[in-house]
Symmetry: C2
Subunit: 182 residues, 2 copies
């Protein structure tokens, strides 16, 4: 029932930043341009992906959660485990599970052995929902990379892998180094 969609008006978002490259004379313009292109592509892709999911009446968070539940054996999943896998906090998982349970896609059951634990089950409605969404979702994302040939895809994955490696190097000490300014 969330219904249709916004028309994705918001894409000139980074144009200003791209012009801005020359405002950072202290560094290589190609670095600035590349970074901004990366950020912008990521942002647009995420936005459109979210929109596709919206057209199926779901969202990123919920869809991720359902997909991850699919990988678990039935009744193995706990909220804390889901938080780890999805990368959101346990509090967020609580909220997502509330929504999913209200819609009948999942069910919470207490663990018989450890009374702190909750076991999360995908209902048959949940399975049916995923079966309904996945074909279209597959088609959507294959259409995104369709303009790239096999070699280009290989290159892109390689380059992104390099960036991601860098990202994870910086993840741990991100604040300590960025806090030193000027």
């Amino acid at each position: 029932m969330p219904g249709s969609l916004s028309l994705l008006k918001g894409l000139p978002r980074y144009d200003v930043f791209l012009q801005e490259a020359k405002c950072f004379p202290e560094l290589d313009a190609s670095a600035c341009y590349t970074y901004l292109q990366l950020l912008r592509t990521g942002d647009e892709l995420l936005a459109l992906d979210e929109q596709v999911l919206n057209s199926y009446g779901t969202r990123h968070g919920r869809f991720n959660l359902l997909m991850i539940l699919l990988k678990y054996g039935d009744g193995e999943a706990t909220p804390a485990g889901l938080a780890d896998k999805t990368g959101v906090t346990r509090a967020t998982i609580s909220g997502l599970l509330d929504g999913l349970e209200k819609d009948g896609l999942i069910k919470r059951k207490p663990d018989p052995e450890d009374r702190r634990l909750i076991r999360v089950h995908l209902t048959s409605a949940g399975h049916a929902f995923l079966d309904k969404v996945r074909p279209g979702y597959s088609r959507w994302f294959s259409s995104i990379v369709e303009p790239l040939d096999k070699e280009e895809r290989r290159q892109l994955v390689f380059l992104l892998e390099k960036i991601r490696t860098r990202l994870s190097e910086l993840a741990g000490n991100g604040e300590s180094q960025s806090a030193q300014l000027s």
Copy 2:
């Protein structure tokens, strides 16, 4: 005063999806893998970028807004114009301006000629804030693309441009085509 930061725990978010490639036998696994790599890189980059901004006590939305205000001549910016440039709704701009004004970084003044309009000004505190943040922010994003040499950056920009072109082709009719499932 929002203070330090979260420690960016949440990056294994897409591992499950990547394993999932073989669950979509109906399509090319390289398409699936490339798409997921793209989504994941974008997501991680956005998350880390947000975290860097957090370490300066600001956020994506607010920082973008301030940077865009910097490009405007003083007193040319209106909320509606800012909404266009940033890609968020006017309602969101209202909220962001509320926060920024409360912190003394911008100021709203009525337009003398058209009483519907509000003119948004960067205060001297706003300028000072940007001057404080920009050097570190530049250093941050140049460190991200640093592992790529000049030719690799050129390639990456080229490939991302292809993706973005595709994205904008699909943006208009996203829902009509994705709504047909199976």
